[in-house]
Subunit: 191 residues, 2 copies
Amino acid sequence: MHLLKEKILKEGKRLEGNILKVDSFLNHQIDVALLNEIGKEFKRRFQDKNITKILTLEVSGIAIAVIAAQYFHVPVVFAKKTESKNLDKEVYEGSVYSFTKAQHYKIRVSKEYLHKGDNILVIDDFLANGQAILGLKEIVDAADANLVGVGIVIEKGFQKGGSLLRAAGINIESLAIIDSLEEDEIVFRSN
Amino acid sequence: MHLLKEKILKEGKRLEGNILKVDSFLNHQIDVALLNEIGKEFKRRFQDKNITKILTLEVSGIAIAVIAAQYFHVPVVFAKKTESKNLDKEVYEGSVYSFTKAQHYKIRVSKEYLHKGDNILVIDDFLANGQAILGLKEIVDAADANLVGVGIVIEKGFQKGGSLLRAAGINIESLAIIDSLEEDEIVFRSN
């Protein structure tokens, strides 16, 4: 997606440890007009999938998911990372391994909001190791729903998540795939 | 806002401790069509304020803020509750007192995304004790920006936040004000 890549080149900041910081338009300040274009692009790529619900993970997936949902005319559900006393007792759980923290954490969705036969589009901001997506897939599977696609804004193509998930047969569409953040340059895969 | 009140009456769940759970359309599953109407209503109420930026607080304000921002054509900034290694070192800080946890926590916005003279609309899902709004106001004041309005989806009118903030001269618009959650009934203030 050309507009997105331009924005990443213009405003993305490369930090140590292969981190790409996109705080000016995605993760702290949010460029809603850009999100509209991202939402339309997800719709274009998944239009024949009969999506019935969009699933994401708090925090940074929420803005993208709700804007995109406008083009699909479906509700959004976001998985919660923290155990809340107000969350339903009956939940689907997924387990996410965090490489930074070197430990697993649980993510949860109330059983009320995912149903058997739902066609789920998972949306997230970044794909790196793919662990968050695997945790969300666990939840979709537990609900006996169908994971019909995964829409990612920025994929770190030099990390293993993308190939891992594609090898598992998951239909992933990443709007920008970065093959390298090194040597003073952001290199996109031509896709 | 009639549509919102209807939705609260139909799907809101009253829990012990004066808690209103709106997980089916606002805090877990998100009804994006309803958020569109909420966004339009905020625009109607703040249309003459020359808003330049919408500020909210993670997590539950984000969805509402980005959908509303489409009608104002301005960016959203969300304050962060957790100290992230990727957040800029130069931040505006606010302090929020949590009655549930009986302690203060810090919220932060990078200095890059709020500027002197910005006309800020703060948006949040709930107003109860008003502490989150006070913390956000601290940040707006520190940036020398103008807090021109606060848009709240659901105000708990039986808690002190609303009167506290209005007494401080803050321009608050709440789309539904609940005066009582007791005795098996949700009672709205006629506004």
